[in-house]
Symmetry: C2
Subunit: 344 residues, 2 copies
């Protein structure tokens, strides 16, 4: 179906970078010089600077059988924005490095960059640099995002206090179920020339997996309501894993309630269809890119009033451990995923 | 010969990162928070910020047959420091992301990080974050370096003016000849269980290839002599390619003189032994990590007095093109390397 295929070697590295980045414009005052010199130049006179980086490898983090290049570019940018929001900051600049094998054409990379550009436009972020290289096998993406925050407004993982409320945004487990759905259809379609299954009624799960958003809207809402979380993290590896990061770094324990965990009905329906444990998907599925944060107990009514935020439990003394309280009142110790997790 | 081999999977991602980074300490005032949260936190109140990034892929940028892991870590850091120096800045922070296949042990990564740590100590740079992931094949390294400079002191590629002197530091072509030497020995040793050839008399070439330094000393010397270059770039892809970047971005031409190009005698001897063109190695070899810069003509005596700097030519009107003047007075148009260059 590919109508045009321009070999990357026909352009060369410098022309390729220029070709892919020429339609990007610098929008932020802090971006003084973007692509085209030995280094980009930024200026943050009265803010602190946030830096986060992610490495995305074909066959590990994404499968191009069912991930369109444009979606990959969008998601690769979003997951980095999410890390900046998780510090209560605003993403401002992005570098994109990629290693590409001969399998990829200039048109493939145009699609990838169109996804990156869309994310940059929607979140007001500037592409300021990167590195482009040949690769022996597959596609490698490495993205670094730089953001800003007022010093007094930065939220770390280590500030949770006993009796704080544990809050989560959106719903959990849908991205993981979307991945299960895509993996199943990939098996079904194996050998067929086109991957074009019918996902009617499951669109939300696919969107959560293929085109996630980062919760900048929540950062704005918290600021508008004068709420400064005591700790915050984004949910990329699953609720359990992230809660344990907050508890470990804050030297506290926690209780979260199974019945309070927000789950979309499409997630629940597919878990039933696939005979999978719904709570496990929500606790350990990962790639939700929602925010998990804690606020002082007295802010209960204020935080419950913010759309898209739900209180799911509270922080305890460290000696009580970190547990999920099931619907029948049992306490199950939370466990983090290991190296070989589903989304590693 | 490997006495200990700890599988990465026995630690898990978070313990691995902690294990590898626990001996790194933050040394710079601008580093407020390093490894361990969603993003690192920096503060640059009165300086501009420089950002550069490099992607290094096994089989493309390095061959572990003859590149020791510690050297790889050192060089991966150095090439990024070099980009910051090339803006007339000082490197301050580093993020290191890596994708590692099961072939690698925890001990391998300890060696890699010991090289990164050595480079960070020698150049006063802080490791502030990164991302660690499994990989399907081989080793992927992605490094981002952040540096600082006074706004008025930053040197771009686009400031070269007609009649400026073209200066280069150190000598050129040695890293490329070191690579040729290692590649030849690899062929000779093919199938042998140990790679341990005799490199007596060629140590400088190997050092230039395996353990390059970045020219922070020159940045200090220029400042001490109150010399602000009009343009600057580091020589990673070869003198020709970098000169063309300066000429294109500054809208000027240039003349560089073959007899002025600094070449070490070991480079010359090996080029003769291998029956290779010495000037080609110096012009296009790459990976020298020397600085190429221009200064106003009236600074001739001042710049010649700085140890390790040589004037190799001058900037001309754009209409005259960019040429090498050979020993017999012929003018050869400079050409950049393409995508499939030796060190891509």
């Amino acid at each position: 179906m590919e109508q045009n295929r321009t070999e990357i070697s026909s352009l060369g590295e410098f022309k390729l970078i220029n070709h892919l980045t020429k339609t990007f414009e610098l929008k932020n005052d802090s971006s003084k010089k973007g692509v085209g010199d030995d280094a980009a130049v930024l200026e943050y006179l009265d803010k602190q600077i946030l830096v986060t980086t992610d490495l995305l490898l074909e066959g590990i983090h994404f499968d191009l059988t069912y991930v369109p290049m444009k979606h990959l570019g969008y998601k690769a940018a979003i997951v980095n924005f999410s890390d900046i929001f998780a510090m209560n900051g605003q993403p401002r600049q992005l570098t994109v490095s990629m290693g590409v094998s001969k399998r990829f054409s200039v048109e493939d990379l145009e699609l990838l960059y169109s996804g990156i550009q869309l994310a940059c436009e929607q979140y007001n972020v500037d592409l300021i640099g990167g590195d482009t290289s040949a690769s022996m096998t597959g596609l490698t993406l490495s993205i670094t995002c730089i953001g800003e925050a007022e010093k007094s407004k930065i939220v770390y993982r280590n500030g949770a206090k006993e009796n704080d409320l544990i809050c989560v945004t959106g719903d959990l487990g849908a991205a993981y179920m979307g991945l299960q759905l895509l993996e199943r259809e990939k098996t079904v379609f194996k050998g067929a020339s086109e991957f074009n299954p019918d996902f009617a009624g499951k669109e939300y799960l696919l969107e959560r997996q293929l085109k996630p958003e980062a919760r900048g809207d929540i950062i704005v809402a918290l600021a508008e309501n004068n709420i400064l979380p005591t700790s915050m993290i984004d949910i990329s590896d699953g609720l359990s894993s992230e809660l344990l990061h907050i508890c470990t770094q804050s030297n506290v324990g926690c209780r979260v309630y199974e019945e309070r965990i927000p789950i979309d009905y499409q997630t629940a329906i597919l878990a039933e269809e696939f005979n999978m444990n719904l709570v496990t998907a929500a606790l350990n599925g990962g790639e939700d890119y929602e925010l998990l944060f804690t606020v002082p107990l007295e802010l209960h009514d204020h935080i419950e009033a913010i759309k898209g935020v739900r209180v799911i439990g509270h922080i305890t003394n460290e000696s009580l451990g970190s547990c999920l309280v099931t619907r029948d009142g049992a306490e199950i110790t939370l466990k983090a995923q290991g190296w070989n997790s589903v989304n590693n």
